[in-house]
């Protein structure tokens, strides 16, 4: 993915860290899909928390923006613009 393509894809994602509960479903689903095992540390994005509060959601370089993480976010912290939850 070129830098331009990546920037375009990033804009399709809405990230709302203030709504993130830290349930890690997004990261577990990602690691299961792409690595064949469940472990958030193997996912293609990460959640940065301080004092129990999510401060940032960071998409990694190897994220393809497939949207699987969005499909398992039940707190509204990750969304696709124009629909989806």
């Amino acid at each position: 993915m070129t830098t331009e393509e990546r920037a375009l894809m990033t804009r399709k994602f809405e990230l709302h860290p203030e709504k993130c509960s830290g349930c890690l479903q997004c990261l577990m689903a990602c690691s299961l899909k792409y690595e064949g095992v469940v472990n958030p540390l193997k996912a293609r994005s990460k959640i940065v928390r301080e004092g129990g509060i999510t401060k940032r959601i960071v998409m990694s370089e190897n994220c393809t923006f497939c949207g699987f993480c969005v499909s398992v976010c039940y707190y509204g912290a990750r969304k696709l613009k124009g629909g989806g939850s």
Partner: protein
């Protein structure tokens, strides 16, 4: 061997020698006891010598992640700790939510067995295969949140920490540990056991992973469960307020008694001071979920105005500041949050800790304890609660006894026994005179005593006025056999005592899988869904009947162990004060009655009849309240059957 769902290894830590070993998880044992509480209980059956002092080096702690922990199976976050608890002397399992169970699985372990005692304070660091005992002299003396933050700083915010506070270090039996600074684990003194072993904390970060046997089937069941979650019209309320979301209904029902359980405060005033509007005015909050939880009910709370402005604390049961501090001690909402923060930092059990202060106030009023003994005049106010917490940690004067809990207090002041409402030394968070539901009844028969959190279990049968038709639906949902249902439902009534064993079996099986059973989560699963999920993840066939039998097996094994320790029917008795004294609620006087309030229970004989029904339903000996040899053998527990026989039961 390829493992699915399970990590396949047990970590063995001997604090006396510093030896750290791993061994393979016995899969035959895992199939029979599922995991979590089940495998913990079977392991401790062999490892714990009879009648040991819980704070001696001979005590053992077995930690266990549930079989589904570490997967996205919704709400599979429960981590369990099995030990001999020092406050009561019972052998049991505590469970708590947080990242520790899943993270332990990702590091490659299902269980940790901790034995012996360290010479100096240590903590256990588990970084995949690199497991070490580390010097904890810098952490010793720190409160739980400070020590947890220090470990996050060293190992990363994506690690998980289980930690004790000053209460555990000072061997306060009324103590517990916190997972990630939020999930309570181990009422009854798990922290004191860890403190006696000089084990301040455990930190884990795992970079391996857990495999799922049938991924396609897993996601199908997952989506079905998510669909059920979104049928809950209160889902967003749970996420915003946690269990505080039900507080107003509890005030209206009078379910939060105060003044040592003598009266329930008027609802109108309580709602005004502590209701949802007051919550919004006082607090800013952020949702906090254990890994895989799809309806979180934990919060990071920040006081946004008034006293203690800027105070930030974490709350697992978000109405604790109100029901254990605000209401009983006439505090402002802000002061309730501050007290919760203090108890959490020290690692004092909020239920027993706040209740014993209520008891002391009554004993002081009656002249059974003096100002000189307490070094204060105890009153229902903020200063009393804060000073009491400090005195418990310092263990000065009578507080040295108070720190060890209700049973220790009764031993010191025998006349106090008629004023203390407890079961096996544990205070009841709620009151059977308000509603004799399953949750409250289980707090009598539970080997751990009044440990469960009433009104939050699934199926929730502690709320008054559930129509009998709905109770019948719940009985069917939870796969109660038809023969049992005929005994439970008779003449337009239903028997709490006979329904209770089936809820206990179900929820014990939940603990084995590591599933949460707070009612808005537990309702997402039932034995069919839970057993299907287990099979999809592990590849091991499990029917709903086998799932429930595993729960019953673990319950019976736990009971047999406690019979060995001297517990029997006498320890399950209904507290005298519930039978003899009404609970005042406004103009009403609530007396102990059956669930449907058609029968008043006013004598010891009538109360004992309820226990008869429970033991009969369990297939136990009614006279002693002990599992029969026949029952234990039928459950595939020959080791427990032999134990019971050796103890002189049949």
């Amino acid at each position: 061997m390829e493992y699915y769902g399970y990590a396949g290894r047990i970590l063995k830590v001997d604090l006396s020698t510093g030896s750290i070993k791993t061994e393979k998880l016995d899969m035959d044992m895992a199939k029979k006891f599922l995991g979590g509480q089940g495998v913990n209980t079977r392991l401790i059956f062999d490892l714990l010598k009879p009648k040991i002092d819980p704070l001696s080096p001979e005590n053992v702690i077995i930690f266990g992640a549930g079989a589904l922990c570490g997967t996205p199976a919704p709400a599979a976050t429960k981590f369990s700790a099995t030990t001999k608890f020092p406050e009561s002397g019972i052998i049991g399992t505590a469970v708590g939510c947080g990242g520790f169970g899943p993270m332990l699985k990702w590091a490659g372990y299902d269980h940790i067995i901790v034995t012996g005692v360290s010479e100096k304070p240590v903590y256990l660091s588990i970084m995949d295969d690199n497991v070490e005992l580390q010097d904890a002299s810098d952490l010793w003396g720190k409160d739980i949140l400070e020590a947890t933050e220090a470990l996050y700083k060293k190992y990363g915010n994506d690690s998980s920490v289980l930690c004790i506070g000053p209460a555990g270090e000072k061997l306060v039996r009324m103590s517990l540990a916190l997972i990630d600074g939020i999930g309570h684990i181990g009422r009854g003194g798990l922290a004191a056991v860890m403190g006696s072993k000089k084990l301040k904390a455990m930190v884990v970060r795992g970079t391996k992973g857990i495999k799922i046997a049938d991924v396609e089937r897993f996601w199908k069941i997952f989506e079905f469960i998510v669909g059920r979650a979104f049928t809950d019209r209160n889902r967003l309320r749970w996420i915003k307020y946690g269990l505080h979301g039900v507080s107003e209904a509890w005030f209206e029902g009078g379910v939060v008694p105060v003044k040592n359980r003598r009266e329930s405060p008027p609802a109108e005033e309580a709602i005004k001071t502590y209701g949802l509007k007051a919550f919004d005015e006082v607090l800013e909050s952020y949702p906090w979920a254990g890994p895989s939880c799809i309806t979180s009910d934990k919060l990071v709370m920040k006081v946004k105005k008034g006293e203690f402005e800027g105070l930030q604390t974490l709350a697992s049961t978000t109405n604790n500041p109100v029901i254990f501090f605000g209401l009983p001690f006439n505090l402002s909402f802000n002061q309730g949050v501050k007290c919760h923060d203090i108890f959490n930092r020290y690692g004092i059990d909020e239920i027993n800790g706040s209740y014993i202060i209520e008891v002391l106030i009554e004993l002081y009023e009656k002249g059974l304890v003096t100002e000189e003994q307490l070094k204060m005049k105890p009153k229902p106010d903020f200063e009393t609660v804060v000073k009491a917490a400090e005195m418990i940690i310092k263990r000065e004067g009578l507080w040295d006894v108070v720190a060890d809990g209700l049973l220790a207090l009764i031993r010191k002041i025998p006349e106090a026994s008629k004023y203390v409402i407890h079961n096996k030394g544990m205070a009841f968070p709620f009151d059977a005179r308000v509603c004799l539901g399953v949750e409250v009844f289980d707090m009598l028969t539970n080997p751990r005593g009044a440990q469960s959190f009433a009104l939050v279990r699934t199926p929730s049968l502690a709320i008054p006025n559930i129509p009998i038709e709905m109770v019948k639906v719940l009985a069917a949902t939870y796969q109660i056999p038809m023969g049992a249902r005929r005994r439970i439902f008779k003449d337009g009534e239903w028997s709490t005592a006979r329904f209770t064993p089936y809820v206990e079996n179900n929820n014990t099986a939940f603990n084995c899988l590591g599933l949460c059973y707070r009612f808005f989560i537990g309702r997402l699963y039932n034995p069919v869904i839970a057993s299907s999920m287990y099979s999809a993840i592990t590849g091991i066939p499990l029917s709903p009947e086998e799932f429930l039998t595993a729960g019953e097996r673990v319950w019976n094994l736990q009971k047999a162990l406690n019979v060995r320790e001297g517990f029997d029917r006498k320890d399950d008795a209904i507290p005298e004060r519930w039978i003899t004294e009404p609970l005042k609620f406004g103009e009403k006087e609530l007396r102990l009655q059956n669930y449907t309030r058609t029968l008043t229970i006013s004598t010891r004989e009538e109360a004992e009849k309820l226990l008869d029904d429970y033991y009969d339903e369990r297939g136990w000996d009614i006279k002693t309240g002990v599992p029969t040899k026949e029952k234990l053998t039928k459950l595939g527990l020959p080791e427990a059957a032999n134990l019971i026989t050796e103890l002189g039961y049949s």
